[in-house]
Symmetry: C2
Subunit: 327 residues, 2 copies
């Protein structure tokens, strides 16, 4: 008899990342799709997700020699606010199409958390173009920020890039708070700054355009006090979010995950200082893995009947369906 396996999914802005494996047997078989799951008036579209997922899951199961996919975990960007249709339809669809009996649907921030820290109490900062903090004391979930580039995402790549461009334009205008090195960097990257509004505002990916300037801010920070101040302010904002979600008692762990932290020590040094100051009881640890690793981790714990993480309709929703073959 072929072994019972799991299906783990990370659904994000660039498509699906899918893994199929057998608990206790590593590594899993993995594949990516390039088509981000659509959102319609009912939220994230379960049919569009299934159309992409089913053929990939079947191929990976065959490749990995997995007979039955007993457990599936889907971490999805936007799940907390746009997950109604997924909750209503995905468990049934996964049972029908793939024979899955136990399904967990999670916010991508939760799979990021579990990928970074596993089922231990603490706080995780997930930062790229945007920023969100998630924490748990294993009785419930808390989150902070993640409001997008106009309402928050304070300290994110978009936030740092936007602040850097503002400092560049202050230098151009002769206003206080300007940075000549950032102005030079902006003109190198975008051309004459008079044209910058015309480049930025018509785009639909404005947050990504802003975030594309963040590495220049980091590159200037060693020499330029304005750029260094921007990164220190970003570190304070990140620590605000981490402090809002981190358990107040015990020895929680704090980890960083996401592409923004590749910017290096110009950001990481002030961030580690702020976290030590604001959360002296917490232990800063490296992230174990990424969000797909978090989905795999939840799936193997669920399959073994030992999921230690708290359920939550908007954050981590677990649903068991009677086996199709058993009726």
């Amino acid at each position: 008899m072929t072994p019972a396996g799991y299906l783990a999914v990370d659904s994000g802005g660039s498509g699906l990342r899918v893994a199929v494996g057998v608990p206790g047997r590593e590594p899993s078989a993995r594949r990516e799709t390039r088509d981000p799951v659509r959102t319609n008036a009912r939220g994230i579209d379960p049919a569009h997700l299934m159309d992409q997922l089913v053929p990939v899951a079947r191929a990976l199961a065959a490749e990995a020699g997995v007979g039955e996919l007993g457990t599936a975990v889907v971490g999805a960007a936007g799940f907390a606010t746009l997950g109604d249709a997924l909750r209503a339809e995905l468990p049934g669809a996964l049972a029908r199409e793939l024979g899955v009996r136990t399904v967990a649907l999670a916010a991508d921030a939760v799979t990021a958390y579990v990928g970074a820290l596993g089922p231990r109490p603490g706080a995780v900062l997930a930062a790229g173009t945007g920023l969100i903090a998630v924490g748990t004391d294993l009785t419930g979930w808390r989150r902070a920020d993640g409001w997008g580039h106009l309402l928050g995402d304070c300290g994110s790549g978009a936030w740092i890039g936007r602040a850097g461009l503002e400092a560049a334009l202050r230098a151009h205008d002769g206003r206080a708070g300007g940075s000549a090195p950032l102005l030079a960097g902006a003109e190198e990257q975008f051309g004459p700054v008079r044209g910058l509004p015309g480049l930025l505002y018509p785009r639909t990916d404005r947050a990504a355009v802003l975030a594309s300037f963040a590495p220049r801010v980091a590159a200037c920070a060693a020499q330029d006090p304005v750029a260094a101040d921007i990164l220190r302010a970003a570190a304070r904002h990140m620590a605000d979010s981490a402090a809002a979600v981190c358990p107040a008692d015990g020895t929680p762990e704090v980890a960083l995950t996401g592409g923004l932290f590749k910017m290096g020590d110009q950001l990481l040094t002030p961030l580690r200082e702020e976290l030590a100051r604001r959360l002296p009881h917490a232990r800063q640890v490296p992230a174990e893995g990424d969000p797909l690793h978090g989905s795999v981790r939840i799936a193997t714990d669920l399959a073994a009947g030992r999921l230690a993480l708290p359920g939550d309709r908007a954050m981590l929703y677990v649903r068991r369906t009677p086996g199709v073959g058993a009726t």
Copy 2:
């Protein structure tokens, strides 16, 4: 013989405001259109402007008993960056259609300046949803900010509203820097804040949505220190822009114009203090009039051959066309 008159125009986000009059004879006849002039790949569309302007100008001239429109002044939002087609075509079109011989094309910030201060050296802050500062020593123009809600417009209505919503969401998350009164105000205005990203990001008028929250920030400021800090920071940003454009010598005048300043003393008191601190040599004066008043003022000075303001291709562009009837 009927007297020679002028045509004055303020072209903005809500359409055209048009005045026809005779120098020395007040008031002028006025009318508004509701169709904002289109922008295409060549910039502001001169044909679309003329289509709206010509019938209104003819009707107003008849109404005012003006025979010949010798002078026309058009102040237009976006002129500084999107004015190429206007410069190329509008003087000729106005000569052909309306017999105008002297045309001045101006950035709306310049007509706002002249409306507020007339042809005197100083600085004008024009603030509504956005913010720009314009200054002149009568030998050239300077401007600061006006970069839009993502790159600047620091201290504007959109800036104040955005900062207020960020403080509301900080309170919601339990992050530092939050304001419970602003959170209550945000939920009163927009409903549960979890839905705010879904309300804001799909809109094309995001800056206006942000600015719509600015009056709540002002209303909270008497009781709420976070809201009061936002207005003080806005005042500092405005003073940064005014200081960047105000002549350093002599006794320049400084004036405020635009809808934002209707917010009252919660904003005006810290702004007056900042301006006094940053520009102790300048005299703060009330604005005489609005941008259409500025267009009228430029037109009457041009008609009388006594325009004291400096020409500038991007700010105030004057062009004389030989009379059509004279060829």
